[in-house]
Symmetry: C2
Subunit: 449 residues, 2 copies
């Protein structure tokens, strides 16, 4: 359906029916209008963008893909760009300016009001990925001595520009955060009540330097629509709204998926719009590291050349052993990494995880080994010792894979390394080497090779 709509719009554009196109666009949700602009060829975007109603244009601009936004700004005069920065919410303006070269940013900011310029410059200083970098300055501020009627009047007269009016923050001298009150509570209270009687003084808050993932988790944990961000002196400097938190959570999950599959995390650009060289660069570093580790495993294997020259059948069980070990290990590491991301597992749970993984792995390992033993004595009758060797190796491999997989992410976190790098690929490589040593040691003892 979306697709069909976009096709109609394309036809209007190609047949230059601009009045009809404008009418259609003005009736659209800004998100859908932005999606239409995103997929247009670069040279058509300025034309279509200029058709939009002024108010809609700002909303659409805020929703564009970073790339589309940047190319569009290139077509603006400095004055038009300054105007756009003035009208965007400060977090969107900062996102846009962050994409542009420094000299262009300087030129554009010269055309904005001193307040905007100062605000934007302050925001540009917060490092990427912190609460400061995703917050916005458009919030509603009340004072404790206002009555409900005054507060509602204040909101009605100033609310037009605010990112969210539904959660109001009560501040004292120097903007120190004193409390929070929702529009709902104000609406349900009597007109003459004081804000300070309604407000909650225990405000859940973040500091500008907190990580964006923590901020998103707080919003999600306490079901908030927005979270106040304060500086070190507890002065209110911005808010993070729930829609930004949703975006952060999705982006962090994507990054974790990527890191856990041995890739450098992406810049949030969809796969189909990312260039071949960029994709290759993000993948190659880890592949190289893991390939070299694979060579180490190979050199371990080289030590046992005599064993498999004497008994080539042993080699045929290697893929099954190492694959099972790798899979068992990555199950455990995935559960533990995800548990840490969600705050369910902390470094002090190390022993609890170790104990749990030990028991799980024994249970799993014994079942797998039994199935394997049965299959081998049926396929290779009379070779019970070999079947025993493979099955025993399987139990030990699963045990070691699961304890290593469960423990290494926690150790990484304790050493302040991102646990996601301890995911499937690295665990598999480590477990490969370990399982081969186990396998050939057991073979040496039981089979005498």
């Amino acid at each position: 359906m979306k697709k069909m709509m976009n096709n109609e719009l394309m036809e209007l554009l190609e047949s230059k029916c601009f009045p009809q196109l404008k009418k259609r666009l003005d009736g659209m949700n800004p998100v859908d209008a932005a999606a239409f602009l995103d997929q247009l060829p670069e040279e058509k975007r300025p034309l279509v963008f200029r058709l939009l109603d002024k108010d809609l244009a700002t909303d659409v601009f805020a929703q564009l893909a970073p790339e589309a936004g940047r190319t569009l700004v290139d077509s603006f005069s400095d004055g038009e760009a300054a105007q756009m920065v003035e009208e965007l919410a400060v977090d969107d303006a900062v996102d846009l300016l962050g994409e542009l070269p420094a000299n262009v940013v300087k030129r554009i900011l010269q055309g904005t009001s001193p307040q905007t310029r100062e605000l934007v410059n302050r925001y540009l200083c917060y490092p990427d990925g912190t609460a400061g970098s995703i917050m916005t300055a458009e919030f509603t501020e009340l004072s404790a001595r206002m009555t409900v009627a005054q507060a509602i009047a204040h909101i009605r007269s100033t609310g037009q520009d605010k990112e969210t009016i539904y959660t109001c923050y009560v501040t004292g001298p120097c903007r120190v955060l004193e409390g929070v009150v929702s529009v709902r509570e104000l609406l349900l209270a009597r007109d003459e009540q004081l804000v300070e009687a309604l407000m909650d003084r225990q405000v859940i808050r973040a500091v500008t330097t907190d990580g964006q993932e923590e901020v998103a988790q707080l919003l999600s944990r306490y079901d908030l629509l927005s979270l106040p961000v304060v500086d070190r002196e507890n002065r209110l400097v911005g808010i993070v709204t729930v829609d930004d938190a949703v975006e952060v959570l999705e982006q962090e999950a994507t990054e974790d998926f990527e890191k856990m599959a041995a890739m450098a995390p992406s810049d949030d650009r969809p796969y189909l719009r990312t260039g071949v060289v960029t994709l290759a660069r993000r993948r190659i570093v880890w592949l190289l590291v893991l390939m070299i580790s694979g060579m180490v495993t190979g050199s371990i294997l080289a030590k046992y050349e005599a064993a498999f020259a004497a008994m080539p059948l042993l080699v045929t069980f290697i893929p099954m052993l190492t694959d099972t070990g790798g899979n068992a290990g990555s199950q455990s590491s995935t559960l533990v990494i995800r548990g840490m991301t969600l705050g369910e597992i902390r470094p002090r749970d190390l022993l609890a995880v170790l104990w749990k993984e030990t028991r799980v792995s024994l249970l799993v390992g014994v079942v797998l080994a039994a199935v394997n033993y049965l299959r081998l004595v049926i396929t290779y009758p009379g070779q019970e010792m070999m079947a025993l060797t493979v099955s025993l190796s399987l139990v030990v491999t699963v045990l070691m894979a699961k304890t290593i997989g469960g423990v290494l992410p926690i150790v990484a976190r304790s050493l302040r390394i991102d646990p996601a790098i301890m995911a499937a690929p690295l665990i598999t490589t480590i477990v490969d080497a370990v399982s081969l040593v186990v396998y050939f040691s057991i073979a040496h003892h039981l089979l005498g090779v």
Copy 2:
């Protein structure tokens, strides 16, 4: 800090200082109070729960872990349980009742009002994972002919029980959904304006049978605070609020992580609270399937026994080859699976993905092969043909791994199979078998073994 607070509360409980304990609990955020109850031993929960203020008690109950909620209800009389069902938002009540045996549910519902009973029964019929199963009936309804002043008065008089008052839905006869208007728009408008002049008629909506993930994506895409859910006749039956959407997104990401690491998805219970047998059961099925596939790979290898008996050195490159293939393949499958989850890649993009992966894999494969070739000619001087064999196999393996990894998840989606099962473990197993065939075929031609 949280931990310290809970320790203080525990001390108050153990020294039976109930008045102080009650005072502390009543001042807490319901989320934190629920977390304290969750971690109490089962037999202490009813005692502490009864200390809470009645209003707080309902909020705390809604936030309890499913297990804690169930054990608490066991300590209630049927009348008390009915009262709780009456006071909870309908989605929380349904969550609770879904955990209890059918005869208990029936007994409890007998004590509730006919309206609640009918509502709950209707909600219990929506299958798990649909919009119907996560929606709530507590929304604000307006009619198009109301003035702004009437609408605000209506909200102020009825808003107490609503899950969110900030987005109001305008309905006509038979509750047919006609439009949507935010409290913000009402507050910023003049008192005498009509709701129908302010409302947006293009309402983004879900149908009760839509998947919960689609619903969460809609809320996130359009930055909504709530999404209306309608039945097949376009009658408004409930809303899904953004906090539920955040929960769904986190839960779906966790499930994807689990499925992609070859585990059956969990029931949303934290790792440390899940029993050993449950954990083992969720992991063993896939491990068995993959172990048996590993045996197939082994039997492919068995065909080349003569080759590696003649040249045992060949065996030592197997781990490096299969690991690199597995990693290269799981990078591609992870990107494509995540891209499909986020709606960025669709089945009709199959050829685009195939073409992109082909180019990326040639780039990556050639670099890896070059590094590998250099290393081999240095380590094994005079064995250039062997070095060529390994390097050539590497290029072909990476090429096949990445195209298989990129294409299989899309094929799975087209066949209506969950693409997440085409993640690292299965891709690795498939690529293992393919890369061994490639390796030994190339060795046969180049080295004559």
